[in-house]
């Protein structure tokens, strides 16, 4: 994971190096879309229809937006306007769990840990939040909602901490153990949904959470855009602050970048591994919380749609930087929610988005392809030069 560890996080982050950092991911996305277009053409469909539907599905139609604004200003009627911004807000809704889960995996990467367990932690977080959400009654929202979120975070944290502890104490590899914890979480949730947490009725789902535990929505139905998105942004900032501005964050990055040097400098590897896995689990748990409290209001089987696994890809795409994660989560949100429209409008299977996502990840994981394709000089050469030619 050393590649994911840190571009220099300081005043060097001047404009040119920031542009350098962004160049490859942006080109990777563009190239992914271009190759996706070729696949669409090969399958006999019209690229413009497809990407047009993708665009209106993720951002909304500009014409509708103008019409909606006209209606609003002439009559004060918001219905048309809300319909116009619906796709955009849905994209943000989809991006919300991506942000949380992406931060979870990114934090792990920073400490040199591969948290494949975000999916399981997501489930546990969702179940814990749902439980507090429907079972604790009579609290005002100002207490009930934070409590429900906290429950999700703690549940996820516990789920992450177990493999963290096993790694620190016994050297058990976190990849294996987080995968195992995923399966435990899936089967545990099956049992809970069919048993103790099952709502009355046939379907294996939990009862709806109480309104006092719901993340407030900003618009009327069907717009599901809610406070969760801004909570995600806030948490992303907090993770950034924690990683780069605190002593513990410094330890975590040190342990990730060079555990031997961290030990030499007197840092506790064990403490930091457990801490990071707990925090990563907590973040993934909050992804589940945000989804259940903000969007669905109940948990059912197959609740996640693979957020925890996509999170690995978008942490890579975001170079394990909290802000990068936010950007890539937005991208994934827009792609995912646009894809639904593309399928219904242009008849392009939703899977094309998975192909594009896959391509983007390949290009990010092997930046040499992009550098070669676009003839970009590698930043690496400059580094080698410095090692060889100081003294000027």
């Amino acid at each position: 994971m050393s590649e994911t560890a840190t571009p220099s996080q300081t005043k060097t982050g001047n404009r040119s190096s920031l542009a350098q950092e962004l160049l490859v991911p942006v080109l990777a996305v563009v190239t992914g879309l271009i190759i996706g277009a070729i696949v669409i053409v090969a399958s006999g469909a019209n690229v413009f229809d497809a990407y047009g539907a993708l665009f209106t599905g993720s951002f909304g139609s500009p014409i509708r937006l103008i019409e909606g604004l006209q209606v609003y200003f002439s009559t004060g009627e918001t219905k048309e306007l809300l319909r116009a911004i619906y796709p955009f807000t849905e994209s943000l809704v989809t991006a919300t769990p991506y942000i949380f889960a992406g931060l979870s995996v990114a934090l792990g990467f920073r400490a040199g840990l591969f948290n494949i367990g975000a999916e399981g932690q997501f489930f546990i977080g969702a179940l814990c939040s749902a439980f507090v959400g429907y079972s604790v009654k009579g609290l005002p929202m100002i207490i009930h909602l934070p409590l429900a979120i906290l429950a999700g975070a703690l549940g996820g944290a516990l789920w992450g901490m177990i493999p963290g502890y096993l790694k620190a104490k016994f050297g058990a590899h976190e990849v294996v153990n987080t995968i195992m914890m995923n399966w435990i979480a899936f089967r545990l949730s099956d049992w809970l949904l069919n048993g103790p947490m099952k709502a009355s009725g046939f379907r294996p789902v939990t009862p709806n959470v109480l309104p006092t535990a719901e993340l407030p929505r900003f618009f009327d139905d069907p717009l599901r855009f809610n406070l969760g998105f801004f909570l995600a942004l806030l948490v992303a900032y907090l993770v950034y602050w924690f990683l780069f501005k605190t002593t513990t964050g410094f330890e975590i990055r040190s342990v990730g970048a060079n555990p031997d040097a961290a030990k030499y400098a007197g840092m506790s590897i064990v403490k930091n591994l457990v801490l990071v896995m707990a925090l990563a689990g907590g973040l993934a748990g909050m992804a589940g919380s945000a989804q259940v409290l903000g969007v669905d209001h109940w948990v059912g089987q197959g609740f996640s749609a693979g957020y925890g696994f996509d999170a690995i890809a978008l942490a890579l795409l975001g170079k394990s930087h909290p802000f990068g994660v936010v950007l890539s989560a937005l991208l994934f949100g827009f792609l995912r929610s646009g894809a639904t429209n593309m399928q219904s409008r242009a008849g392009i299977p939703i899977d094309i988005i998975s192909i594009i996502q896959g391509l983007v990840i390949v290009f990010i994981a092997a930046p040499a392809i992009i550098r070669w394709f676009y003839r970009i000089r590698s930043i690496k050469t400059e580094e080698t030069v410095l090692t060889r030619g100081w003294g000027k």
Partner: protein, 510 residues
Amino acid sequence: MTNVLELRGITKRFPGVIANENVDVTLREGKILALLGENGAGKTTLMNILYGLYKPDEGHIAVRGKQVEIHGPNDAIAQGIGMVHQHFMLVPVMTVTENVMLGIEPTKNGIILDKEKVAQRIREISDQYGLEVDPHAYIKDLPVGIQQRVEIIKVLYRQADILILDEPTAVLTPQEVEGLFKIIDTLIKSGKSIIFITHKLKEVLAVADDITVLRLGKVVGSIDPKEATSQKLASMMVGRDVSLVVEKGKAKPGEPVLVVDGLAVRDERQNLTVRGVSFEVRKGEVLGVAGVQGNGQTELVYALTGLLPIEGGTIRLLNEPIRHTSPREILERGVAHIPEDRQRHGLILTFPIHDNMMLCTYYKNPFARGITLQEKPIFNNAEELVKQFDVRTPNIYVNAGTLSGGNQQKVIVAREFSRPIELLIASQPTRGLDVGSIEYIHKQIIKKRDEGSGVLVVSSELDEILALSDRIAVMYKGQIMDIVDANKTSKEQLGLLMAGVHPTDAKNTK
């Protein structure tokens, strides 16, 4: 006599830096050319151009009088140029034969690998040049010196007659260096020509037929070894007069800072590598620990700094015992540690210099207030140390990995010396460094001694031990053979002790 290889007017620019500028190098047939220069002088870039890894911006290469274009290692090999890299390119889990045949695997019937044929050829080469390598041994089981011979065999197997040896002695013990020189001699006698890249002056004087000195990417001059002296070469390399001898006054030893009694330590593989070691280090003196690499020195230092647990015996630091004591606690009691492997322990290469400058004290005032890091004091601290310790870097924000080895070491020295210390533990403090940096770091160590710190220097370079130490402890197979007064000993005596022979025993057996 003909020139087998000529580089004419080679210029290579990297963005912002000219790595080679109008460099001329001539290699005569059957001779050894030493290419001498500090780290960062452009030796490696030049050799990479010759080996086809970089394309020169200007200039040309001629092999045996004929101008050639070299676009990659395959072209170089086709021209009979072979390179032995400083860091070996071997697969540890494969045998010597498999490593040698990698890339040009001969087959029987087009499918089955013909290992026996290669092994046979390796035996021939090995006999011809006195390399003594078993073709069926696994690389991982071979000592570094032999691994290097495998690299040489690889090159010879590809029928190179121009050999480039890039810092070949950097990883070798003194005995292995002797062995290498014998091999070089045999190679020359059978008509090979060799470019020997190094920054070690004594080696150059010992083996070279011609010497070309590079500084800052340019040729400073070529010189006949018969007219050269270490002093002269050093000043050519560095561009000013350097003192090769550390000037130091008499030690004024005070109270013991560190008392080690019967210490035993197991290494990471649970082998008992330190077996009952006792010594003390006093304030204001340098105790040197000499010994061939791998005789327990590494583990001794790890135990003293809390990186490895203590198996038996006691360590007392300023009269307080060290046992199950964390590295941080040891650090806080006033121990500074220049680690043996600067890239593994000493630095985080992907972190900027300013973070490396506070790696051990990041949690303390003024670098941290509460849980938040304070950027301003961190930057100021780094700016100040960079200036004070003359670290050559564009600024304090670049990653430590972008610095040359000497400057990386200066960062560590600066950091470790920037807090009050009672005991300095310096392990291989100048390994792989150039003359200028060595001079500087030696001066700093002596300065710490004169300020009243106890100093423990571990080094496998006898010259370094002799230059710095007031007393010398020689380690062999995890034990201390003897502790001698540095002024009353000789290299020969130390050499015997390093080989596990006690001089008094030697006399007795005679």
